[in-house]
Symmetry: C2
Subunit: 466 residues, 2 copies
């Protein structure tokens, strides 16, 4: 039987957060493109370049309902002394006026219609009145028009051929308006990653089960599923598994078969039953063996199976040397941060595997720092890392730390300043404040903590807008 | 035949933005609750109150892998002079240790396990070493522990019965973690609104069609669909319809049958073919007739049908008097703002109908100000309006306006300040900057505009976080 114990569990080398992020982002690749209907593309990442297929507007376009005129004809117009113009026709949106507007005449025009040849301005309807001239319909213009007034010239907004959206752009409603304008009824977007999720831990019960002494419910799986969906992934929650290496190994293999990525939670620290820690340790050697593996599928099976059969503990040669696109091997199994230092990541046959902490707060931080950017990258994002801002700390942090801390916070505005109120600084296990957090604040390593009002870097997590 | 023209089209009375929002929010009601699996509830609005069903943690819980001890036994411990404690057993997460920890002894314990009776601290594994005493396993403790160290006492985070989420809360991953912890495998959330969308305009072509002279593609429908989905609605894009009152009226009736709400775009201004303006005008009188209507279905049919049959133009008695929950009648058909002043809204048999501008920029503003809050409210949101912040204007606005302006902007951070860079201030029709906008900045009415650095109110629109 495999022993999960032994001193090897302490032999993890911590990498810095930025290095761990770099390794994950270099290891994962965008998923293949697929075709999607334009109106369903909100939140998806573009897998093609899109250009303006015509000048926009495609013709000089009326911006108001009113009359197309020669501006010079109205130069002296007032409410008391209106200009009187003969109305020679009407052009609705979608129509094209066949003639040319002559001096002294006007054409009734609707918003969005093509401004007829000859006219150089549109007078809004509210500045006109109808007048009957003997034998011809006429309009009274009660204010002077200037050339170009209420006319959007052809090509004012876009020139034909201009790039309107690049590969890797996350499509919002505004992009969709542009793509619709230029005829992209369907677009190429990267496939959404299918992400299998399971929790390890003999103490776990399903969420729907009654509690029992010493037991807790698996709340992390549902939280991770919601996090996965919040960044465009499709969550596949697979439940929870006891701390049994054979069972966990089999579950991992099945999950890797079915999904594009796997997230586990729990069992990643230095406890006697920390099965994910052992599985990750066995992947340390995988990068070295990959080149010689003739059957990647079989190799994966062996490497995970080895946990059960041999407990092999190989060293990853030259940590940090995982090449771009590496398909197999440990990426890191310790990060120089708090909370979540045992957070681990590996590639297994080209698919990422994250082993997050079972502690809800550390699990959340691990997801945000190492999973969310990678899931964005798998969707083709050209800017997968969190946006950061400089914010003022609302209250002092009295406690130093040998490692950078990533503390949940509420980011807001006070007197026009970006402010950050820290939540649960001293208790990384606390989950009470999880719902309120909309940012992670980085408190740099050091003996002192930080003063109230100190400038800190905040990673924007979730919707600040509602 | 119905004439869409005539002076009545100018007889609209503008209401202020806040008043228009109030009318919409008072008219719409939350949709009925439905049961949803917890892990699928991200972004949904809670239709029940949820309480902690147990103290949390439910037992004194080890926060580290290590040993449960009497802290007093380790008071003098150092690396050179460790305390030696006899190990009487092991407790893994999920197990309960049957005995009591006696002075001079320790129990090996894993993160998340219940701390055995007697023990008052947990020493982390890294501060211990194994030692063999004659006849009994022992542990060396190399640093003093203080009482409570690495132990989360029962009830530290939540007391049984405490409210963890209230009705109207938008559920994020953090809420889902809480709900899972307390056994809510399913929760009651409000149904998502099904929102039918169509564009009116003879000039419109399907997005997939080649352009023709004077014609443009219907890009607004796809943009609105993406906006609807971005606030939790289910979009039902129904395409576009020519400016024909009978066709539009029939399409509206069909849409209202199928959906919980309808959004149209275009035909809402004062042009000769602005069919939505006429339909809305006919709804002006509806609130007055509602009390006497015995058959609401029939009444709706009549009121929309009347557009075709009679062109009835009734006045809404006492604008602003639409009672809360009013099921039928115009809410407003002009708003004192730019762009989008012709934006209109009505209730038809208890369902909201918005007639947005056909101008993409004005359509976008109308959606954000009057549709998004209502769709949130239909999902039960307890805070449906946009969050606002005070921000500094990046550049001066030289142009005054008789009405408040809502200008697309990029909200960001510079030197710790919230800053707003306006986009497309002078051209409300411009859609070129739609994708970049993450806020709407309110420029108050006045002759002057605003100075660079002036404090303005910004409505947060979209994801600031990526």
């Amino acid at each position: 039987m495999l022993s999960l114990q032994g001193e090897a569990r302490f032999n993890r080398r911590a990498v810095k957060v930025a290095e761990a992020q770099r390794r994950v982002l270099e290891a994962v690749q965008p998923l293949p493109p697929e075709t999607a209907a334009l109106w369903r593309c909100g939140g998806r990442y573009l897998a093609q370049s899109c250009e303006a297929t015509v000048d926009w507007p495609p013709f000089a376009r009326a911006g108001m309902d009113g009359y197309a005129v020669h501006a010079a004809d109205t130069a002296q117009a007032t409410a008391e002394q209106p200009a009187v113009l003969r109305v020679t026709g009407t052009v609705a949106a979608g129509q094209v006026y066949a003639g040319t507007v002559q001096p002294g005449t006007a054409v009734r025009i609707m918003t969005g219609a093509a401004v007829p040849a000859g006219a150089d301005a549109v007078v809004m309807l509210e500045q006109t009145a109808e007048a009957a001239e003997p034998g011809a319909q006429a309009v009274l213009v009660k204010a002077p028009a200037v050339p170009g007034q209420n006319v959007a010239p052809r090509g004012e907004e876009f020139r034909c051929g201009a790039v309107i959206a690049r590969p890797g752009t996350r499509l919002g409603p505004g992009h969709i308006a542009h793509l619709g304008t230029f005829g992209y009824a369907e677009v190429q977007v990267h496939r959404r990653p299918r992400v299998a999720i399971f929790a390890t831990g003999t103490e776990l019960l399903p969420v729907g089960a009654p509690l029992a002494p010493g037991r807790i419910r698996d709340s992390n799986s549902a939280m991770i599923a919601a996090l996965v969906e919040s960044c465009g992934g499709e969550a596949i929650p697979l439940g929870h598994i006891a701390d049994d290496p054979a069972a966990v190994s089999l579950a991992l293999e099945a999950a890797l078969d079915e999904a594009d990525a796997v997230i586990t939670t729990g069992g990643v620290s230095v406890g006697d039953y920390d099965v994910m820690a052992v599985i990750m340790r066995n992947l340390r050697g995988a990068a070295a063996t990959r080149a010689g593996a003739e059957d990647p599928e079989g190799a994966a099976h062996d490497l995970l199976g080895a946990v059960v059969r041999e407990g092999a503990q190989l060293e990853l040669p030259g940590q940090g040397a995982v090449p771009r696109g590496a398909g197999h091997g440990l990426l890191f199994d310790k990060v120089a941060m708090r909370p979540g230092s045992p957070t681990s990541a590996a590639m297994v046959n080209g698919k990422p595997l994250w082993a997050l902490s079972g502690n809800p707060g550390a699990c959340h931080v691990g997801f945000e720092l190492f999973v969310r950017p990678a899931l964005r990258r798998m969707q083709g994002s050209s800017s997968p890392l969190h946006r950061t801002v400089n914010a003022r700390l609302g209250a002092a942090v009295r406690k130093g730390s040998p490692h950078d801390r990533y503390v949940r916070a509420v980011l807001g505005e006070r007197d026009g300043l970006w402010t950050a109120e820290l939540l649960a600084f001293n208790k990384s296990s606390m989950m009470a404040s999880l719902p309120e957090a909309n940012a992670l604040v980085r408190i740099p390593a050091g003996p002192e903590g930080a003063e109230a009002g100190a400038e800190v870097t905040a990673l924007l997590l979730g919707p600040l807008h509602e």
